[in-house]
Amino acid sequence: MNAIIFSALWGLVMMFSGIATQNRKTITGLSILGLVLLLVINCLHAYGIWVIKMDTKDALHFDSIGLFFNAIAFFATLLYVVLSGKDIENTGVHAAEYYALIFFVLTGVGILTAFNGLLMLFLGIEIMTIPLYILTGADKRNLKSNEASLKYFLMGSFSTGIMLMGIALIYGATGKFGIAGGVTLAPSTGLAVRPSFLEVGGMILLFVSMCFKVSAAPFHFWTPDVYDGAPAVFTSFMATIVKSAGFFAFIKLFEAHTAVLGDSWNILLPFVILITLLIGNITAVFQQSVKRMLAYSSIAQAGFMLFALYGTNDLSKEGILLYAFSYSLATIGIFAVLIKLKDYSLDGFNGLATEYPLLAFSTSICLLSLAGIPLTGGFFAKYYMLSAAIKAGGVFWLVIVAVLLAAVSVYYYFRVIQAMYFKTGAPTFNQPITKAFQWTLFGVAVLIIVLGLFPTLLLNFFYF
């Protein structure tokens, strides 16, 4: 509750700070302050200290996993603003508003990690995505940015409509907005009662709309265009924090519900995972623009994260936390470098290692992490996902396909490393690369390696 109220309030503060000062540095500083406070206040909640106490009538339910995910999301946002704050300032003319919108998105994240009913889920999703439609169009003189914004808005509202329809069907079948349903047993026979057609239909619609939100194929078509068209600095935010939050909600929603879907779940999920992995990985191979490649890579990573839906135990929750953290860190790191480059194509990275060895090293660690090479956080993230699927049983073939495609992913991630290290060129930047930026990025790389050596450090936190 702390985090939800505080982030909404701080969003307002940011909005009005635009009136008080025109100094963009101050505005960025203010938002960093806000994020630090947000992080602290969220952790206080986890230790049982409510700064703002409010009875939610059980509409929201706070547990340690949700609060821990909040902490991850806020920390990632903090890193993101520290690394790319300058680029947010330079995107358009309304720096203060952008920060305000980012805080509103975080409010949505706070709701999504705590929802205890379908209505709250809907509110969380809407609060999280509506600011994003605006951020996508932030670069308003750029035609592609406008197109992306409109596309995102249309597709987003479409999927929201589907979600509402699903909620309505479930409400019709059960008379409740709750998600604690599951299969009921008939008192006379002890066998499971067949769930009504309405309920199954509603669940499938919910599944489809969530797939939209996390850009799982075949509902991914908006992703490349939107990620490519939006200002790169906001793509970074969308592809990491927002996406992970969407996944968290996805898993929270479905963890107790797969039984309702019965056999259709065993067809639906493998199918979605399979084509998400296929489309994401194979298409990414052919991209020349690193920005677009990262868009497809985010689809491919979504395919891996979907494996978490197989786990019904803590394994998948721990896994998704680790995945969200390591994936967000790595993607934010790469984007932070990409945004500074003038040329978003692969050639733009040529020769980066000779001029900025530290920068190239940190970027390489991020890429290695995305590819899932051991010693990086990405390895254990993938490891958890594969374990979840193997322990669920019955889909070993899918695991094999997933690792084959992970080998494909090495191809496109390593092309960036090749460009940086083995090709010659002189990368040009939009703005000077400061020492502070390089060392912050190096810090991110170190964090990724620490996660890769001791993933339990992170996970132990969450059993505090």
Partner: protein, 477 residues
């Protein structure tokens, strides 16, 4: 404590080396570090208390993985081989100019740390970690310091091996899930409750990973290109030590984990190995490129070792142990000479060589000795190993032994042809100005030649060293 030292010395010195800016000091640090590792490896061979050869601490308790390192006879032997190889390699290239040398030596030492880890790990997850970590340095070494087509070739090599190891990873996860307590320790994995068909499936997941590394026909296509395009020092690491990773993994993991499946598929694998041997030998006979010739000859030798491992014959196991060491020594020697020739003449084409024996007598003598060791002539180290392997193969199946035996003749054909083309015949404009090999390379080769001859005359220490591994294998079968 010894196993940790073997990993930590190259790891730490490797990281330090990156920080240097002067090429000379980087070289010296690398050489010193490699000698220190050799001393520790030598100590491990003499040191008898088993407590010093084991290291075990909790690493990831939630996942059931412990950081366990253990040395048995085979580990000692391969660590010794790794320990000997690196100083020889550094010595051989000591006088050469390497661009951005600190990076080069840093990566080399890191790859040594990774290799040591592979030979020491007794926990499947730790093993997988080092298996990958040995690969990354080699990727950078080849891509930065390699030949003209280096980027594409190394990429192919990397993706090939990465694919294999990912398949192995799924196998490891599956196995540990069914093992008592979800542990990754090798003893626990052997007790995993699996049906026959599950075991057979997992067997292939592991075997493909190892077969790519060795490499076994038809998964060998990355190898000649990679050997040719890599800088020679890295080729020595790859062919001398890295290919042993595959063989080692078969002995340490595959055979104990899946004894029935190994017996079931023995014929298939031996067939692939023998086909690979003949195929590689025939190509080697036609080669005009010195580096590719050695690469193909290496495929043929590895094929025999792989076939021998699946015969389940004690003598074959023992032969493989000896041959792993001998092949490492011989092939590194051959590469040092090939590198010296290439640096001298500026070409690796046999058709442009000739008459080197007149200009470079020491080189000629060393090449002949190494060449004969490659053919496995009696009194050279590989004779004993090959003899025992053929003995085992013969007991297993006479036909396979006969077919594989052809490769002995073919080995003599291509090796002698190479010696003849390089050393004899008239001088030509390229070879007219040749001089003898550099003095540091001479020293390295001298040590290797001593090992070749001592190993050929008195191989008993090597047999004693690896005896416990062989005994353990026999009892498991």
């Amino acid at each position: 404590m010894i196993p940790v030292l073997l990993i930590l010395i190259p790891l730490i010195t490797g990281l330090i080396t990156f920080a240097f800016s002067a090429a000379e000091s980087a070289k010296k640090i690398a050489l010193l570090s490699a000698v220190a590792t050799l001393v520790v490896a030598g100590w491990s061979v003499c040191c008898t208390p088993t407590s010093a050869l084991r290291f075990d601490i909790a690493w990831l308790p939630v996942m059931g993985s412990r950081f366990t390192l253990e040395m048995d006879g085979m580990s000692k032997m391969l660590c010794l081989l790794t320990g000997i190889s690196f100083p020889m390699i550094f010595l051989a290239i000591f006088r050469q100019e390497t661009k951005s040398a600190p990076g080069f030596y840093g990566w080399m030492l890191l790859s040594q740390a990774g290799l040591m880890g592979v030979f020491l790990a007794a926990d499947a997850l730790v093993f997988y970690f080092f298996w990958e970590l040995a690969l990354i340095p080699v990727y950078f070494l080849c891509s930065i310091w390699g030949g003209e087509r280096r980027i594409a070739v190394t990429f192919k090599f990397f993706i090939y091996t990465f694919l294999g190891s990912l398949l192995m990873l799924t196998g490891i996860i599956y196995l540990s899930y069914h093992s008592p307590g979800g542990s990754f320790a090798i003893e626990a994995l052997t007790k995993a409750a699996l049906s026959e068909s599950q075991r057979n499936g997992l067997f292939w997941l592991f075997f493909i990973a190892f077969a790519i590394k060795m490499p076994i026909f038809p998964l060998h296509t990355w190898q000649p290109d990679a050997y040719e395009e890599s800088p020679t020092a890295v080729t020595m690491v790859m062919s001398g030590i890295m290919v042993k990773m595959g063989l080692y993994a078969v002995v340490r993991w595959l055979l104990p984990l899946y004894p029935q499946s190994s017996a079931l598929y023995a014929d298939v694998i031996i067939a692939l190995s023998v086909i690979g041997m003949l195929y590689a030998s025939f190509i080697a006979m036609q080669q005009n490129n010195l580096k590719r010739l050695i690469a193909y000859s290496s495929i043929a030798h590895i094929g025999l070792m792989c076939a021998a491992l699946f015969t389940a014959q004690p003598s074959a196991y023992q032969g493989v142990m000896i041959q792993m060491f001998s092949h490492g020594v011989n092939v590194i020697g051959l590469w040092i000479i090939a590198d010296a020739i290439e640096k001298q003449l500026g070409t690796r084409l046999l058709s442009e060589m000739g008459g080197l024996a007149q200009k470079a007598p020491t080189l000629a003598i060393l090449l002949v000795i190494m060449g004969l060791a490659n053919v496995a002539l009696p009194l050279t180290n590989s004779f004993i190993g090959e003899f025992m392997m053929f003995n085992g193969l013969f007991r297993y199946n006479m036909v396979w032994a006969a077919v594989a035996g052809i490769s002995i003749i073919l080995a003599a054909v291509y090796t002698l042809r190479m010696i003849q083309k390089v050393l004899y015949g008239p001088l030509n404009p390229t070879t007219e100005t040749a001089t003898d090999i550099p003095v540091t390379a001479k020293w390295a080769l001298f040590v290797l030649v001593v090992l070749v001859i001592v190993g050929g005359v008195y191989p008993q220490p090597l047999i004693n060293l690896t005896n416990d591994t062989v005994q353990a294998l026999i009892t498991k079968h």
